[in-house]
């Protein structure tokens, strides 16, 4: 019995001193991060392309994100909107997250909320089940004015929730992966 205890003490000592590795931790390569969102509005009847960009390459915290809008939308014009998502946290290895969303389009849905401005947005695409995704949209600018546009990406939403519309993410549930707001000018 005594030997057993001695043995156990020895074992413990071994474990104790082996466990003392003091190496530097491995810096994670964040995989799921989205750093860049670009909403490109291409006018259907010709004119200037409008791009809205949200960029936060150092992730949460650190430097504040940069939000840019290339210019105003033309009044009474229609646009085709397309979204592009990037993970550019590692500048030498930029990943296209749009593809990841396309692959899992049944688990993702974008929502567009407009306030003040006379802007109408409709889904222009659908997933395998015929439900909207929102990577492609049809945008109609109305009268001149100012306002904001909030683009929301929900992961695992309930796409069959009753009364679900392009501006009602609260009915869909799921987790918000993206929620960014741009200033919109129509002139």
């Amino acid at each position: 019995m005594k030997n057993l205890f001695l043995l156990l003490f020895a074992l413990v000592a071994l474990v104790t001193f082996n466990a003392c590795d003091d190496d530097d931790p491995i810096i994670e390569n964040p995989e799921e991060v989205i750093t860049d969102l670009t909403y490109t509005l291409t006018p259907t009847g010709g004119g200037d392309v409008v791009t809205m960009t949200f960029q936060d390459r150092d992730g949460d915290g650190g430097n504040a994100p940069t939000i840019t809008v290339s210019g105003p939308l033309a009044a009474n014009a229609t646009y085709t909107g397309s979204l592009e998502l990037l993970d550019a946290s590692d500048a030498s290895d930029i990943e296209d997250i749009t593809e990841e969303v396309e692959e899992e389009d049944d688990e993702h849905m974008f929502f567009f909320q407009v306030s003040s401005a006379d802007l109408t947005i409709a889904y222009g695409d659908s997933d395998g089940d015929g439900n909207p995704v929102g990577l492609l949209t049809d945008v109609t600018a109305g009268a001149a004015g100012f306002g904001t546009l909030t683009i929301i990406l929900r992961h695992e939403p309930n796409k069959s929730a009753a009364g679900l519309a392009i501006n009602t993410p609260e009915l869909a549930g799921g987790e918000t992966d993206i929620e960014v707001t741009f200033n919109v000018t129509i002139q």
Partner: protein
Amino acid sequence: MPTGRFPKTVFRFSLLATLFLVGGEYVAAQTGCSFTISGRILSEHDGEQLGYANVYLIDERVGVQADSSGYFEVNNVCGGAQVLRFSHIGCDAQEIEMLLRGDTTLTVFLHHHDNFTETVTVSSAASAEYTRELDRQAVATLGDVLERTAGVSSLRSGTAAAKPVYDGVFGNRLSLQNNGIAQSGQQWGNDHAPEIDPWVAAYVRVVEGVEALKYAGPTVAATVLIEPAPLRENESPSGTLAYGFQSNGLGNTLNARLTAGGRTAYRLSATGKIRGDQRAPDYVLTNTGRQEINAALQLAHFHNQRWTSRLYYSIFNANIGVLRGSHIGNLTDLQDAIGREEPFFTQPDISFDINSPRQAVQHHLLKLETEFRPNEDHRLTLRYGGQLNNRKEFDVRRGDRDNIPALSLRQWSHLVEGAWHHELAPDRHLDANLQYEFVLNDNVPGTGIFPLIPDYNANRASAYLAYHEEGDRWQYHAGLRVDRQFYEAITITPDPPFRIERFEHRFNTLGASAEGNYRITGRSSLRLGVTLRERAPQINELYSRGLHQGVSGIEEGDNSLQPERSLKVTGGWRYASNSLIVNASAFVQPVRDYIFLEPQPEFRLTIRGAFPLFLYRAGDALLYGSTLTTFWQPNDRWEVDGRLAIVRGRNRTEDSPLVYMPADNLRLGVKYRTGSQPRGWQLSLSALLVDRQTRLDAEQDFLPPPPGYALLEAGLEKEWGLPVKNPSAPGRTERTLHLRLGAQNLLNSTYRDYLDRQRYFADAPGRNVELRLSYEW
């Protein structure tokens, strides 16, 4: 509920102890009725004297009462077979059969009654709950069991985790000792339940003051002790096989225990548990299942009368589902989730599947101890405690990453302790220890997420000395503890290019406590205690950085924080007659440099929206409150108990209430036994009344505290003795079958508790009917 029957192992021990201690003079020629039976009645757990216990000679119909020190004497007893019955309020009665042939001296150990828990006394012999009580509840989790101690509430994350709150402190401020070793792991997280199997724990106590100074771990006053039943050399082989069924969640629990005495005594315990989704009165709580597989081995080797070695090893494995509807991405999601009829993702039927979000936890504890008693006045103990904690938390993630943990932590901890107990005189003793602890905490790479808590190494050396004097009228206790801690945090810079930075911290902390107890009369006593304790900031307070998923806030540590200094003054009055115990106590506890999370006025903008930012800061806090415990046993059949706990906390720096203070709560219970103590039916009914927490400013929470609620609980219990092959054999084995039917939330009330973080998303579970069947041999 107590069955009246004395738990068997203890019964055996007591009986044997009795036989060993039968001394006195054998006057062989003496006949007739002139013998004297005398002795002392002590508490089985801590050897405390049980004053005013009753002794009854069943055949002679003679009864006496012990004096305040538990001493009794019955004169003029006839020789021959006698059955003595010993009882004491708050203890299970015990019967001893003996063949009386001379004057006899006995030492009788009685066991603290199940449901009744004494509040913390000065010597902190304290709130012991015995195995049977824990067994009754073991189908539940440890948190639920702890809640039955006066002043203890639970901070919950739905059904997934519960942490004790005592006198308004929890988490980093209330340490847990599992089998004498500070429970390591990720105790900073409010959604991290202590990794302990309730089937193994036999005693659960809360100690404070001088007694709490003995133990390692961050604490500002009290410590929760969780201990298995001790092993004794004279233990006869026994076993228990227990099965429990829970209607809410269709839970099944199986536990088996084997015990044997001898020079090498052992106890082996194994538990398996599987439970599906639980149900609130109106809907299923989707993804709240739980699976557990635990085992423990307890070994004691009695080398000789002076030397004992013990080994304890336990493994805890759990896979815990977290309510799917409580997983949120940002503040908007939280606001969407609040105020819904039923949570998002609610499924119509319960399921045994556990999907993300979930926690997978594994905890190993190895304890080695050797105790040497060179003579009656000294006891030396050398102890090693090693723990390995693996915690993996899985979130709902994009791109098939659900099976890659979002948080994966591995912690090794080692504690070496030398302890010395020295009896200076029969009523005075010294206690001292030296400890060294080493903790190595690593983030296991591969999560693809920057860690919330950095890797760190922590070292702590400490010394403790206490003096106890237990006179007849006055009792004094005084203790001192010093800790020297060294942390090395290995962090990653917040901005690219990411680099590794190492930070070192050294903290010296002091603990000092003095307590006194004065016996006014034989039955009532007053006590007063003053405890100063310093608590070094923990790693999450210094270095956490990132999004705290459950609360949708970004939390950032402050590495310039200094130790908290707390002064706790407690006072109490206790009255104990042989049918009534009243315990009233109050405390006030100012804390300097109290560390708290301060909400910042500006939000932090991220691609997932804006998040509130919380920074760890130090300020001044004040906690105060009181508890009232009463226990009344008008006769053998009825028992009534009541426990009231009130606690208040204020952050004086911000002039705001402290968050997570338990609301005022009252627990009332009544119990009735049919027929004679050992084998009757037992009925119990208890109610828990919890008030609304009104002391909270609107801006301190996303949702105002829920209204108060009342819950009803009922139990029905019976025990059957099974025929034994050879009843007259020495060390006769007794076989019993124990049945218990219980119901929690009997009225299926819909409620939410303020201390439950899941209250934003869903109601608490509804009615649960429990069946427990155990066979003991």
